[in-house]
C-alpha cells in the first residue's frame, strides 16, 4: 500500500463510506416503489455497485499491481454465475408455467 499521499486515502475512504450508506438507503427506498419485474434487478444492481466499491477501494483491488487478484475475482464470479445460470437452464424449462408441486 503506497503512502505517497497520506491524506487522500482518508478522503477516498470516507467518500466510499458515504456512497455505501447512500446506496443502502436507496435500496430500502427503491423497494417501496413498484417497478414490477425490475425491483429485483434494481436491488441487485445497487448491491453489486456497493460490493464493487468495497472490493475495489476498501479491499484495495483497484491499486493492486498485477492483474492476478482481479483475475481471481472475475473467475470466481464467472463460476458462481455458471452455477446459478446452468441450474436455471433446468428450472426455467421444466414446467409450463413454473410450479413444482402446489
Amino acid at each position: 500500500m503506497s503512502d505517497h499521499a497520506k491524506s487522500s486515502p482518508l478522503k477516498m475512504y470516507f467518500t466510499i463510506w458515504g456512497a455505501l450508506l447512500v446506496g443502502t438507503f436507496l435500496t430500502y427506498e427503491a423497494a417501496k416503489v413498484d417497478l414490477g419485474v425490475f425491483n429485483a434487478a434494481v436491488a441487485l444492481i445497487i448491491a453489486t455497485t456497493k460490493a464493487l466499491l468495497v472490493a475495489l477501494f476498501f479491499m484495495h483491488l483497484k491499486g493492486a499491481g498485477e492483474k492476478l487478484l482481479k483475475l481471481v475475482v472475475v473467475s470466481t464470479i464467472f463460476f458462481l454465475i455458471l452455477l446459478l445460470g446452468l441450474s436455471m437452464v433446468d428450472y426455467s424449462t421444466r414446467y409450463f408455467p413454473g410450479h413444482l408441486w402446489s
Binding site: T27, N39, L69, V72, S75
Partner: protein, 230 residues
C-alpha cells in the same frame, strides 16, 4: 543450508526470499480463500434463487414478516465497520498506534452490535413461530400485491425461513469468527507487533471482514426486500 548473514525482519519466514514475496503470498492466499467462501455461500444463493423464482408470492409474504428496518440498520452497521477496518489498516501503515487500536476496538463493537440486532431478529422469529420444524406456523398470511384473500402456502414459506436461518446463520457464524480474528489482531497490535513494514495480518484480516460485509450487502435486499412496494 546456506548461511544468510544479513539481518532481516524477524517476521520474514524462512522459505520466503523477500518480505514482499511473503506479503504478496499472504494476500493472494487470503483472496483465494475468499473465493472459496464465495462458492460456499454461492450454493445457498443458488438454492434461494431457484425457490424464490418458483414460489415468489409465498417468499414475498414471508419476507414481509422480517424487519427490514433492522436489516437495513445492520447493513449500515457493517458498512461503518468496514470503514473502521480500512482506517485500522491505514493506521498500521502510518504508525498511528492510537488510531489503530481504537479502530480495531470500534470494528469489534460494531460487529457485536450487528450480532445483537440479529439475536433480536431471531428471537422475534422464534416468538412468531416462524422457525422451521414442529412449531412452525404461517397461516393466513396475505401474499403482497395479490388479490385479497390469497394466502401464502405455509410449506413454501417454511422453505423461505429455512433459507433465511441458514444463510443469515452462516453469515453470523462468519461474523463471530471475524470477531475472534480481530480480537487476536487487537492483542498483537497492543503488543506493538505491527509496523509500517509489517502489518500483513491486519490487511488480510481486513480482507476477510470486508468479504463478510459484502455477503450481507447481498443478503439484505434478497431476504428482506422481496416485494415491499405498496
Amino acid at each position: 543450508m546456506a548461511a544468510h548473514a544479513e539481518s532481516h525482519n524477524p517476521a520474514l519466514l524462512h522459505h520466503f526470499a523477500t518480505e514482499e514475496q511473503q506479503r504478496n503470498s499472504a494476500s493472494f492466499g487470503m483472496w483465494i480463500f475468499l473465493a472459496t467462501e464465495v462458492m460456499f455461500f454461492g450454493g445457498l444463493f443458488c438454492a434461494y434463487l431457484i425457490y424464490r423464482r418458483l414460489y415468489f408470492g409465498d417468499f414475498a409474504a414471508a419476507s414481509k414478516s422480517i424487519d427490514a428496518l433492522l436489516g437495513g440498520t445492520n447493513t449500515a452497521v457493517l458498512i461503518c465497520s468496514s470503514l473502521t477496518v480500512v482506517l485500522a489498516v491505514w493506521a498500521a501503515a502510518t504508525a498511528r498506534r492510537t488510531l489503530l487500536l481504537s479502530s480495531l476496538v470500534v470494528t469489534m463493537l460494531l460487529g457485536c452490535v450487528f450480532l445483537g440486532i440479529k439475536a433480536k431478529e431471531y428471537k422475534d422469529k422464534f416468538d412468531e413461530h416462524h422457525v422451521p420444524g414442529a412449531t412452525f406456523s404461517f397461516e393466513h398470511e396475505q401474499v403482497p400485491n395479490a388479490p385479497e384473500g390469497v394466502y401464502a402456502n405455509p410449506r413454501h414459506a417454511e422453505i423461505f425461513f429455512a433459507l433465511y436461518f441458514i444463510m443469515t446463520g452462516l453469515h453470523a457464524l462468519h461474523m463471530i469468527i471475524g470477531l475472534g480474528i480481530f480480537a487476536w489482531l487487537l492483542i498483537m497490535a497492543w503488543r506493538g507487533r505491527f509496523t509500517p513494514e509489517y502489518h500483513t495480518p491486519i490487511e488480510i484480516g481486513g480482507l476477510y471482514w470486508h468479504f463478510v460485509d459484502i455477503v450481507w450487502i447481498y443478503l439484505f435486499p434478497l431476504l428482506y426486500l422481496i416485494d415491499r412496494h405498496a
